[in-house]
């Protein structure tokens, strides 16, 4: 049915979005590439000429580079694991009959509306501070030594904060998917003698496949560029420096735009590797 006319019309309609995004990607990308080959030190007179691949070499040689990649991946995988596992459990629970379901749902989705800076500030000070924070008081009340979460369990704490922000998202998607599950199929399986675990493994989980795909895809996109949560809580100390944060330190703290730009190019490469990986494992699932 698609005529040549409608095809060209379609292209025309797609054009603004594509052109805008292409510009939004290419202009900074080209500038980043340009800076990455230059010695660019804003506090020392700005652009000081070509340096070839020096920035790339010293960025990757720095002892901070590989740990930062590792931290980035740990953060992404950790948050995905927590939000998916807890999300599925929570969705199963919320799918059960109960009183006040609507209100519980409101409580559960609330963290999604909190801006990342606010949630980081609130967790760091009002919840996790060992002296005056809520958890510190709680620990003392039961006779325990309060934990300094952000230095003793730094990575875990950040994963916890970020998971708190993203759990509502995962739960809601999974819950919606659960609600569309065919109950007759479940009943049939139950009559055939399948236990609850078997029913979950063979019917529920496969049914959730698509929802899980969406959760992984969207969350990964946002998690790779996590910044505010680390900036506010640890400032990259205690082994919480992600690649994004390392770039921030190079560009803004050390005021070395060339070096930071080279880091930016590495981050883009990493993002693309992750994207290709994602497409391979989850892309197929997205075909309706």
């Amino acid at each position: 049915m698609a005529t040549r006319h409608s095809r060209s019309a379609a292209r025309l309609m797609m054009a603004p979005a594509v052109v805008l995004l292409l510009g939004w990607m290419l202009v900074p990308l080209v500038m980043t590439l340009w800076f990455s080959f230059r010695k660019y030190l804003p506090l020392r007179g700005g652009d000081l000429g070509w340096v070839g691949f020096d920035n790339y070499a010293s960025f990757i040689r720095s002892s901070a580079f590989w740990p930062s990649v590792q931290v980035t991946l740990t953060l992404v995988v950790g948050v995905l694991a927590i939000t998916l596992v807890v999300g599925v459990l929570l969705a199963l629970l919320l799918d059960q009959p109960m009183w006040g379901q609507g209100i519980v749902r409101i409580l559960v989705i609330a963290p999604f509306f909190v801006m990342p800076t606010v949630s980081a500030l609130v967790w760091k000070n009002i919840m996790m501070d060992p002296n005056n924070g809520f958890l510190g008081h709680l620990w003392r009340a039961v006779g325990l030594q309060p934990i300094d979460w952000l230095s003793q369990a730094s990575m875990g704490s950040i994963i916890l904060i970020v998971s708190w922000e993203w759990l509502p998202f995962a739960t809601l998607i999974l819950l919606t998917a659960l609600q569309s599950l065919d109950s007759e199929q479940m009943e049939a399986a139950e009559m055939d003698g399948a236990g609850p675990l078997a029913r979950f493994g063979f019917i529920t989980l496969p049914h959730l496949g698509r929802a899980i795909t969406v959760v992984i895809l969207i969350q990964t996109i946002f998690l790779l560029s996590i910044f505010a949560e680390i900036f506010v809580t640890t400032g990259g100390a205690f082994g919480t420096r992600t690649l994004t944060y390392l770039i921030y330190q190079r560009v803004l703290e050390s005021q070395n735009v060339g070096l930071g730009s080279a880091g930016g190019v590495y981050a883009i490469i990493l993002a693309n590797i992750v994207a290709i990986f994602l497409m391979r494992i989850v892309g197929k699932n997205l075909d309706a």
Binding site: P130, T234, E253
Partner: protein
């Protein structure tokens, strides 16, 4: 082509809307410290006097730094006045990014500003930012606990005595730590503290050839002393305690001693906030026996005017007003002398009303003891005491202090941290072309 028009139209629009606003409105970026918030509250007095309106952009310290540095280096022109520190002022001034403040009015009396402050905010003899408040570091201690321990604090204590006193006052059962000191990562937080401690043990950041000095015995001794002191008598989580955390601990009566910024004195003696307001004594920052340098740092928050601002005259009027004697009197008349921004003017300390405040003389003495051109026992190629006034320092010192904080949290050894600090510093200095 169309895009170009659209952009031009947008630019024009932005310009028009900018011009339509009151031409006499200046935008000031500042840090959210108590004294600045007070200044913000008193803006109306300035507007009444000059007819100039003020827009405030108040940000947390780290965000402020990031924001104003981006703007000044790219000549973004977003602010007519920036609140900057003693670290930024000489570097930016040398780059020609700040308006020189060499034509201040006679009644401003620039010579009344303490010489250490003036020097620290100047480059090649030209003042580039006017100090709003200044500070050094000093020791604050609990007079009641010292008495209970049967000790008397000398005016110039040594680190050995501090350790002894900390041991005597430490009382975990009652939640009292012998001593509280910063351990939080960041060059302006724990980084500043450990640097002045190291200075008072005879260490330095660089030798005359810009070689990092973390492999010297002085650094190892200083860091070892600090870590042992804090592990034995400090709060459990000192690795994440900065100025604010320690302030809150001290105000709640949980520290026997605390060495930190002199400005803290007005907070810990304020009965509205502090439970120990009437039990605080002051002494000079400690030093190791036999070392002439004490752990005194020097810092000022100052107001600078970015070169290229359209409102230079109005901005200058504000800078003069906010750092003037008149402003000090204004604050004193509204909030009392104890709340005046301290540490900038000799006349303030000559004022009998101010001199009677318990911490006034010790503050002045501490500031006078700090010499930014001569930080250390051994000669150094740099200016600055708790920092090195080169553009690379903030980045280097933040990473170094993160390695140290990992030691405080028990995650690596002192030797490991010093080795990493040495490597980080030398690599960065090599990249910057010093070595």
């Amino acid at each position: 082509m169309k895009l170009k028009y659209a952009l031009r139209a947008a630019t024009a629009l932005a310009l028009i809307s900018g011009a339509a606003a009151n031409a006499e409105t200046i935008t000031i970026a500042t840090v959210n410290n108590g004294d600045m918030i007070r200044m913000q509250g008193l803006t109306d007095e300035f507007t009444k006097k000059t007819g100039i309106d003020v827009e405030w952009v108040t940000l947390e310290e780290n965000v402020l730094r990031q924001r104003v540095t981006t703007d000044i280096t790219t000549k973004g022109g977003q602010f007519d006045i920036m609140t900057i520190g003693m670290y930024e002022a000489p570097i930016w001034g040398k780059n020609g990014w700040l308006v020189p403040l060499n034509d201040l009015s006679a009644e401003y009396d620039v010579n009344d500003i303490l010489p250490a402050m003036r020097d620290g905010l100047s480059a090649d003899g030209t003042l580039y930012a006017a100090p709003f408040y200044g500070e050094s570091s000093m020791l604050m201690y609990r007079t009641d606990l010292m008495e209970k321990a049967g000790l008397t604090m000398p005016e110039e204590p040594t680190w050995e005595f501090i350790r002894e006193a900390a041991a005597a006052m430490d009382d975990p059962e009652n939640g009292i730590n012998g001593i509280c000191l910063r351990g939080k990562a960041g060059w302006g937080e724990g980084g500043a503290l450990i640097t002045v401690v190291a200075n008072s043990f005879g260490a330095r950041w660089f030798d005359e050839e810009w070689n990092a000095q973390f492999d010297t015995p002085e650094w190892k001794e200083a860091l070892t002393f600090y870590v042992n002191l804090m592990n034995d008598y400090g709060p459990d989580n000192y690795a994440t305690n900065g100025f604010n955390e320690n302030l809150s601990l001290f105000q709640q009566g949980k520290c026997g001693m605390w060495m930190d910024a002199t400005v803290a004195a007005s907070f810990v003696t304020n009965p509205k906030e502090s439970t120990v307001a009437d039990k605080v004594g002051f002494a000079m920052a400690p030093h190791k026996d036999g070392i002439s340098k004490k752990a005194n740092w020097l810092w000022a928050w100052a107001l600078g005017i970015p070169a290229g601002t359209q409102k230079e005259e109005a901005a200058k009027k504000f800078v003069e007003w906010a750092t003037s004697k008149e402003y000090l009197e204004l604050v004193a008349s509204k909030e009392g002398w104890a709340n005046v921004p301290p540490g900038t003017r000799q006349s303030l300390y000559d004022n009998p009303e101010y001199a009677s405040i318990p911490f006034a003389q010790m503050t002045l003495k501490s500031i006078l003891a700090a010499d930014p051109t001569n930080c250390c026992e051994k000669p150094v190629p740099y200016t600055g005491i708790q920092f090195v006034a080169i553009p690379e320092f903030a980045g280097i010192a933040t990473e170094v202090s993160q390695e140290f904080s990992a030691v405080y949290a028990g995650q690596q050894s002192i030797d490991e941290a010093l080795a990493k600090a040495q490597e980080i510093t030398n690599d960065a200095m090599e990249a910057a072309g010093y070595r």
